[in-house]
């Protein structure tokens, strides 16, 4: 940090005498009230950081930080960050049918949001129609039930798709969701190039967290990359065809280092496949990471900074990128749901505030606080509004957006950023040594690592070593004071009725043909987005489309 040797010696000298006097006296008098002051990932934290810590690592400002909007992007991906453009405010939502979901979206947009992330029910996410016996009890829970384009039309009625950003957790069904959106945009008269869509489409993480896989890993990666290839080749620049996810692995128990190391390994697996298909690195889609924001404020903020730097270096040095667009990593953040407690749920408003703060100080492009009732049920209209307001208050009332990367240059922040970066690289290399993400998933390595961390965390809470307010300390024994939102169970019947009607009323000959076309396309080994789009437009259902895919590719068998 450009301190002269003399200055550093002076600091070292002062530190030494502080340790021998003030510190020593205080420790002798009071001691410390806890043994362990490490981060949530178990990284040790010193009691004080000084220029010496950075100098030890021959820390160079221009090399490690530079300026926002420039390589290595540690301080942010845009030159003027939130002064030029505020982060987008997003909420994840949807339940029941197209109609009930449409009403919720209009309500959310009226609260000032500019992005909506479509929550789908589980049958939709794993490719079953609402009338499948396996879907019994699941229809419209956790998200909207989408059987066909008809439901997507209902969901976006009166919502201008060239203005509102739409995101989604479609993973195993990535190409189908893309097809639905292309079809519904066409109906709205919105050209595909203007569609603002952010597809999650990261199916690899589903095998180790969240669990909405359908096909075996290789076939799943093929489908995800078909989506990316289709968008790149058709120059659909407003569609982000893939978001690499750290988020769900963290929710499954991964620590900060594991989450990003495994996320990176997954990203590399997709990018290797894109390279194999002849897509040049400089034409890759703009990189996005879906990253959780946990409660360990500084560790989480450093994670965002470390990963931006690590990413840009990897793209440049490993993939040989020259296009800054593919080196600048965008983040969509979100509160860590597993940090929310079912006990004393209003306390989660505070947790939402802290986790949103993490995202903003970390330099995220999309910010979301979760609703306080998330550990109990699908959020109510009231609790979602509090979550939206939380982010709005941080954006407009606190002044934290006035300057870029306000924590940059803090001795602690920089030392921790460096440490996290190094740890991620090390674990990522371990995955590489095991043959990369797909092999490490199939061998169970990644699941085991995540499972072990989850168990360690649980034990730390149960032993009282980690305090969770309201759960293992400061408990109260009183009835729940908030109203819980419930999805009307009658919506399942309604949805099944709607599906029956659709099947009776559509051109079934056309459906048969498009499904046949899809099967042939698989045999030909071509990109599957066009035949899926044709099937979707003929109102083939998700169960029918995925039925073809299951038949030809087989299904993934979870190792237990």
């Amino acid at each position: 940090m450009a301190y002269s040797k003399k200055e550093l010696n002076e600091i070292q000298h002062e530190k030494g005498s502080w340790e021998k006097t003030s510190l020593k006296e205080e420790l002798e008098e009071k001691g410390e009230w806890k043994k362990d002051f490490s981060t949530s990932s178990g990284l040790p934290v010193e009691r004080i950081y000084t220029p010496i810590d950075l100098e030890k690592a021959s820390w160079d400002y221009n090399e490690r930080l530079g300026f926002p909007g420039q390589y290595p992007y540690t301080r942010g991906i845009d030159a003027d960050m939130y002064r030029a453009q505020l982060f987008r405010m997003m909420q994840y939502g949807g339940f029941g049918t197209g109609k009930t979901t449409n009403e919720r979206y209009k309500y959310l947009l009226a609260q000032g949001l500019n992005e909506i992330s479509v929550a789908m029910d589980l049958p939709t996410q794993i490719g079953y129609d609402s009338d499948n016996p396996l879907a019994n009890g699941e229809v419209g829970k956790q998200g909207i039930a989408i059987d066909s384009l008809l439901d997507v039309e209902g969901m976006f009625e009166g919502i201008p798709l060239d203005k509102v950003h739409i995101a989604t957790t479609a993973n195993a069904i990535g190409p189908i969701f893309l097809a639905w959106m292309l079809a519904v945009a066409e109906e709205q008269g919105v050209p595909a190039e203007k569609l603002r869509l952010n597809l999650q489409n990261d199916v690899l993480k589903e095998f180790v967290a969240r669990g909405t896989f359908i096909l075996p890993a290789e076939a799943s990666v093929k489908l995800s990359c078909d989506v990316v290839e289709y968008c790149v080749k058709n120059r659909l620049d407003n569609i982000l065809p893939i978001n690499y996810c750290e988020y769900h692995m963290r929710e499954a128990g991964a620590d900060v280092v594991q989450g990003l190391a495994f996320c990176l390994a997954n990203a590399v697996a997709y990018m290797n496949e894109l390279t194999r298909r002849g897509i040049g690195v400089d034409d890759f889609p703009s990189p996005w990471i879906n990253a959780v924001a946990g409660l360990d404020l500084f560790e989480e903020i450093c994670k965002y900074r470390a990963f931006r730097r690590l990413w840009s270096k990897m793209m440049k040095e490993r993939f040989g990128a020259t296009n800054p667009r593919v080196m600048a990593l965008s983040f969509r953040g979100g509160s860590q749901g597993s940090a929310y407690t079912a006990q004393q749920p209003l306390n989660n408003i505070v947790r939402g505030t802290i986790t949103a703060l993490v995202q903003i100080l970390g330099g995220a492009q999309v910010v979301e606080a979760h609703s306080y009732d998330e550990a109990l049920a699908t959020p109510s209209a009231e609790s979602v509004r509090v979550a939206v307001r939380t982010v709005q208050i941080l954006a407009h009332e606190t002044g934290i957006i006035n300057t870029t990367d306000p924590l940059g240059g803090s001795y602690y922040i920089e030392a921790l950023t460096d440490k996290i970066e190094g740890k991620i690289i090390k674990l990522f290399e371990q995955v590489e040594a095991r043959g990369g993400a797909i092999k490490a998933i199939e061998s169970g390595f990644i699941s085991q690592q995540i499972g072990m961390s989850a168990y360690k965390w649980l034990k730390a809470i149960e032993s009282g070593e980690k305090v969770v307010v309201g759960v293992n300390m400061y408990k109260v024994d009183e009835p729940l004071s908030i109203k819980i939102f419930k999805v009307d169970p009658a919506l399942e019947e309604k949805q099944i009725e709607r599906l029956k009607k659709l099947k009776a009323g559509r051109d079934n000959h056309k459906v048969k043909n498009t499904l046949k076309g899809l099967k042939e396309a698989v045999a030909d080994g071509v990109n599957l987005v066009p035949p899926i789009l044709a099937a979707v437009k003929s109102y083939a259902t998700i169960g029918e489309i995925c039925g073809v895919l299951r038949e030809v590719f087989g299904e993934y068998q979870e190792k237990v």
Partner: protein, 135 residues
């Protein structure tokens, strides 16, 4: 001579389509640490397959985990099938995101207890020991 008491056998199962298995998997480890023999089904089990496994494994306890909101259908269905298979003595407990209001209904349908987020695994293990011993 060692008098060996047979360890309590537990089946932890994920009925339905919910893929959130953190709670289920950590409970498997915790109950094993408590000296129980624990079988885990993996994701996406039907009530039928869970009941079948419970019979095959001869378990004393079936623990069901669901975070998707479909517990009111799935949990009672498992109990029903266990009864059909003559496993009336098996202790059935549940966990996940289960609203307080649903618990009386689930208990009426034969669930012995529901353990929500933040439940201590020691308490769960204690509950199991108490119930299995008494019955």
């Amino acid at each position: 001579m060692m008098s060996k008491e047979r360890p309590i056998r537990v089946l932890i199962a994920k009925p339905g389509m919910d893929g959130h298995d953190r709670g289920a998997k950590t409970l498997v480890l915790a109950l094993r640490d408590e000296g129980m023999e624990v079988v885990y089904t993996g994701l996406r089990q039907t009530p039928e397959s869970i009941a079948r496994t419970a019979v095959q494994e001869g378990v004393d306890v079936v623990g069901l985990s669901c975070l998707s909101g479909s517990h009111n259908y799935l949990f009672p269905r498992v109990v029903e099938l266990l009864l059909e298979k003559g496993m009336s003595g098996v202790l059935v407990i549940g966990g996940g995101i289960i609203p307080e209001d649903d618990i009386p209904y689930l208990k009426q349908k034969g669930m012995e207890a529901v353990f929500g987020p933040g439940s201590s695994t020691k308490d769960i293990a204690g509950f199991i020991r108490e119930k299995v011993k008494r019955d």
